[in-house]
């Protein structure tokens, strides 16, 4: 049982780290603001959830697990809201998303 739990925790942590990295790559590689924000917003939320789950599986004490669950809930509330606020602010200040149609029309 212990090995199953530690393997599951390891998998969660690895997947979380991979998602963190892919979010970072997304920031650098994606073409415009909204796609970059998508990369960070989506992968960051899932990545932090995965890492927290991995830590929960490792944490033996109950109060540590409860604290991690609270942190997880907070991230699930705050991260999407922050992404929404960013996108809204960008839209409000007049930044247009890069659309495929515009590109082909220009080309």
């Amino acid at each position: 049982m212990d090995t199953v739990i530690s393997v599951a925790s390891l998998l969660c942590l690895l997947l979380g780290s991979f998602l963190c990295l892919s979010g970072g790559v997304g920031i650098l590689r994606f073409p415009d603001f909204y796609t970059r924000m998508h990369a960070v917003g989506v992968t960051d939320t899932l990545a932090s959830a995965m890492i927290l789950m991995g830590l929960m599986l490792q944490g033996a004490e109950a109060n540590v697990v409860i604290k991690l669950i609270i942190i997880l809930l907070m991230t699930l509330f705050i991260n999407p809201t922050a992404s929404y606020a960013l996108a809204k602010a960008a839209m409000y200040s007049g930044l247009k998303p890069l659309l495929n149609m515009q590109k082909s029309k220009r080309g």
Partner: protein
């Protein structure tokens, strides 16, 4: 491993500091400063200074960023070009910096055992604080009891900063400032609905966390400074999303002013009570029949005073900055 983490964190800090120096867009500078605060907080966690880390996270990444954002709204977003040659300033900075580095050469290395402070004060705090003060968190024991007078000074600095901001910028009692919630609230209601909903859910938890930090400071990391800052950021968040006038109707600025002075008075009053009971200023042992219980009562009261003053001063500074901007806009129209 720890060295590796330290090197990475410190090189990030250096990179961010250099980026801040080179940038002209103040908005980006403030965001970078927030990241700088968060990274230094992580650095403090790595070197096991958890109390400092909470303070740094609350100040550097939280309240400082908010206050600076309001200040840039007032002062303009872009840094203006230099009006004169910076050579003189550069020379002064260079000389001061090299003198400081030269002075630090005499200091013992970080964590060097035979250094004087590790010989006398440290061992006394670590070995005796449980029997003298009786508070599990040694940092709180040092901050509120052994070095209570220094902390009173720090609190006075914060209070003075608040008074100075009010003296320079105060427009809190303008005639039109109490006209109800106004169009601002309606605009926020229409435009920022989802954020308002989430913030409404989160604010009670932020406040609960602040009170936890305030009253749990004797047993774990935390205390009045951190709790005051977190509580203030909850109120500032509310003011930003529900309109400044709504926030002022919930708690009036007069209350913050009174609370700010009350905190200092509570702190000093505890000291005076100790003095009247025939002990030294801020020696809490005489507050109760049992010296340890007296110490505990004294520390709780003093932390409460710190929390009140820090909380209300931060909000007063924010309100004054914001109102100043509004008045400037009115003046332009």
């Amino acid at each position: 491993m720890e060295l590796f983490v330290n090197v990475i964190l410190l090189s990030f800090l250096l990179a961010i500091a250099l980026a801040i120096v080179r940038m002209k867009d103040l908005f980006a500078v403030i965001m970078l400063a927030g990241i700088y605060g968060l990274l230094s907080a992580s650095f403090f966690v790595v070197v096991d200074a958890v109390d400092v880390a909470i303070t740094e996270a609350a100040v550097g990444a939280g309240v400082f960023t908010l206050l600076m954002l309001v200040a840039t709204v007032m002062a303009g977003r872009y840094e203006q070009g230099a009006r004169h040659k910076p050579l003189l300033a550069l020379a002064v900075v260079f000389i001061t910096g090299s003198l400081l580095i030269y002075g630090s050469l005499d200091m013992p290395a970080f964590g060097y055992g035979p250094a004087p402070d590790h010989q006398h004060v440290d061992s006394h705090y670590i070995n005796e604080s449980m029997s003298e003060v009786g508070v599990p968190n040694i940092v709180t024991a040092v901050l509120a009891s052994y070095r209570g007078f220094d902390t009173l000074g720090e609190l006075l600095v914060i209070f003075t900063a608040g008074v100075a901001v009010m003296a320079l910028l105060s427009t809190l009692y303008d005639s039109h400032s109490n006209l109800g919630t106004g169009p601002e609230n309606k605009w926020l209601y229409e435009q920022q609905m989802p954020i308002r909903l989430v913030v409404k859910i989160l604010i009670p938890f932020i406040m609960l966390f602040a009170f936890y930090i305030q009253f749990h400071g004797d047993y774990g990391p935390g205390g009045g400074f951190q709790a005051g800052l977190i509580l203030a950021s909850a109120i500032i968040l509310y003011a930003m999303l529900f309109g400044i006038r709504t926030a002022k109707q919930v708690i009036s600025p007069r209350f913050y002013q009174c609370l700010s002075a009350f905190g200092i008075l509570l702190y000093g009053g505890v000291g005076v009570v100790a003095l009247l009971n025939g002990e030294h200023f801020l020696d809490y042992s005489v507050l109760f029949t049992d010296p340890l219980a007296g110490q505990h009562v004294g520390i709780v009261l003093v932390e409460l005073g710190i929390g009140c003053t820090v909380f209300s001063t931060m909000i007063l500074i924010f309100l004054n900055f914001y109102e100043r901007k509004n008045n400037q806009l009115d003046g332009c129209q």
